[in-house]
Symmetry: C2
Subunit: 426 residues, 2 copies
């Protein structure tokens, strides 16, 4: 899927966010329609991305990478949009990260040469696809995680049979007690690393990986300490594997980093005591659009020099459809349209079509209290100006589970005019 192929995809009213009555048109021509959100040219609910915020976040990441001497393999699962993958590669991304083989397939179809499957490679179809692709394309540079001898043996058996001509590159995953995947202690990690080494030349150990992003309490300070301690454990695994000669000769890779803690990742890996040079691979998926949990500026003063940090690019707009009680508004947006797994959407601004007024900030006391499949329940002050037919723009708390509710997301300029659109593949 080249940019031209995506631009050629036909859109019509079957796609959520596209007007019902419009003749089908190529996605790449959406800007020519000069549709404007505030002129009600789009049916609501609609999710939009603010072009200026995307551009600012993109610039910010380029500067952060220059400052940190790390590389990034942004997690593609967030957006699943080849157009944004392309933007991320243009921002200097070293690779794309994915969580599943379907996501890998989208990357491969979009011409991404280097992909980190930040997950175990499991199951007949997934393993077969990866080994076939390794054999088919010598430029395909693929990495995946391993955290058990059982999985190492499954991969070795499949690679032996498929004989793709070069080893499957693995990153040894360290995990935390009560956490997700990953070896919980050094002894287990070394056992898995030895199983990989024993499966040469079918498998090769290229580095160590972990995901610290599950750490989340009400105390950012405690979280930072827990994250640092977990990263030190990953460093300990790397040092032990290095001493035991379990890594391949190629450049060592150390990788961690969701969207919340990548400054700490950089700092702790640098101090891990790994003797040889290594590539430090971060994997934030959310920087390009928004992360409401971005504490990074508070923790790392040097980053202040980069200027304005990431800002929210994502907005979901809905109509007020009912004011059934004095303190309640119901809006045309629900679980199908906006994330609700981390926090409920936050009303930011509102607009009354047709009366000549501008977009206004939503006042205090307007709070989303729940979502049904297709409805939003909002508590409002008794004197709230919101009336049936008004438009409300919401900020969101988790880009990943908002993106996956939209197959097409219009990109708007600061005047709310649609300038382009991105296609997602979930």
């Amino acid at each position: 899927m080249s940019p031209a192929e995506i631009d050629a995809l036909l859109l019509d009213g079957r796609v959520k966010g596209i007007p019902g009555g419009v003749d089908s048109f190529p996605l790449g021509k959406i800007g020519e329609k000069r549709w404007n959100l505030l002129r009600e040219d789009l049916p609501l609910p609609v999710a939009v991305l603010r072009r200026s915020a995307l551009a600012g976040n993109s610039r910010w990441m380029r500067e952060f990478l220059a400052l940190s001497r790390a590389v990034i393999a942004p997690h593609g699962k967030t957006t699943m949009s080849p157009q944004l993958f392309r933007q991320q590669i243009d921002d200097g991304a070293w690779a794309m990260t994915v969580a599943t083989v379907q996501q890998l397939h989208i990357c491969r179809q979009s011409g991404i040469a280097r992909v980190v499957l930040a997950n175990q490679l499991i199951g007949k179809q997934a393993i077969a696809y990866v080994l076939d692709e390794i054999q088919r394309d010598p430029a395909f540079d693929f990495y995946c995680l391993v955290d058990s001898v059982a999985n190492a043996e499954q991969l070795a058996a499949a690679a032996r049979l498929a004989a793709p001509g070069r080893p499957l590159q693995l990153l040894l995953e360290g995990g935390m007690a009560g956490g997700r995947t990953g070896c919980r202690d050094l002894a287990t990690a070394l056992e898995v690393a030895r199983a990989v080494k024993a499966a040469a030349p079918h498998l090769v150990l290229r580095g160590v990986e972990g995901f610290e992003g599950l750490i989340h309490s009400d105390s950012p300070k405690d979280d930072a300490a827990s994250v640092a301690s977990f990263l030190d454990f990953l460093g300990e695994i790397a040092v032990a594997c290095e001493r035991a000669g379990l890594f391949a000769a190629d450049t060592l890779i150390l990788s961690a980093g969701g969207s919340a803690f990548y400054d700490i990742v950089v700092e702790r890996f640098r101090r891990a005591g790994v003797a040889r040079e290594f590539l430090l691979v971060l994997r934030s998926g959310c920087y390009l659009t928004h992360d409401s949990k971005m504490y990074i500026r508070e923790r790392l003063p040097a980053i202040e020099t980069l200027g304005a940090g990431p800002e929210a690019a994502f907005e979901v707009w809905a109509y007020v459809q009912s004011r059934p009680e004095r303190n309640k508004a119901i809006l045309t947006m629900g679980k199908r349209d906006v994330s609700y797994d981390v926090d409920l959407p936050m009303p930011l601004k509102w607009f009354r079509p047709g009366d000549g007024s501008a977009v206004r900030a939503v006042g205090p006391g307007h709070i989303v209290t729940g979502l049904n499949d297709q409805h939003c329940h909002m508590m409002v002050p008794e004197d709230s100006p919101l009336a049936v037919g008004d438009m409300v723009g919401f900020g969101i708390s988790h880009p990943c589970t908002t993106f996956d509710k939209w197959q097409v997301v219009p990109v708007i300029d600061d005047d709310y005019t649609v300038v382009s659109a991105i296609k997602t593949f979930f």
Copy 2:
């Protein structure tokens, strides 16, 4: 989108649930591939529908409708699949129900003549599409809800301007305190009904509607009483509007009924005291696939004569990818793949590929404790047989928010062989 057009849609590994390496093929030919879930022909996670359960549930609804003297307008938002809409029309559905104009558009593209928008019709694009469609197709029989004078006036103004040649048919919505949309008291309802009447010939009041499905406590008995009381309120609105001469001369419509309480709906509406004949329209969206909250058999003994009630048709399968702690398994399925808004998925059965054994029931003590975007956390007994690479089949608790995570859902026979597939349009 005729059945033939949907059958012609091309699938490939970009679509979640389709193997990565396969050449693109028409959806209608998927059965010819003889793919089998247990032979690992499909990549996991995958959502599947059991053909035998769909057929049984379809038969059950036909018999329920014959018994109840009600009609059904199944809520299409659940599946958003024109193929299942067709099945529902073949089951005798009087109409399809939708929640948004994009959903209406999918119905119209699929040749559905009668549609209930069980929602307020709000916003320039939505109103324009409906009025255009009413004008364009004399056979289009459309209904939507109204619960405010403001909305009645907006619709009247738009209909006056568009002049589609026949009135927009409205159902007056009654609501409950603390609930969603709908007039909270009789006085408000009558005020709205009078505003509709005053907007003749542009608008016409065809009936009364409410949604009792928000009522849900830990006590089914209390819920049943609350539901009955709410339905009596809807009946009271209907009687008052009838006495005030606010309904159109055509057949009166009374509608309620999500998937949990439609037996009570039938009973209470019959006793409401409405003098003239009326059409009783139920709107369950979930009967065809599954509703884990189906109390209906316990409440209405006559229904026992219908034989086996609805059974779960939906399953989502994932691999065990890690057993990182003695009491923990991590599986390849997450928030992107299965609903988590009502209850977390329930492990039902498991299978070990390649060792010649059969599908086995998951033993006690296997409990899903959480989902990340792409991972499932499951608590397991220490002696759980589950190992890395095993497949686990999960039941789900809310079909609506599982369907919307899949663009294609394979339909399997009782041997887990794929016989067809349904396409969704979210």
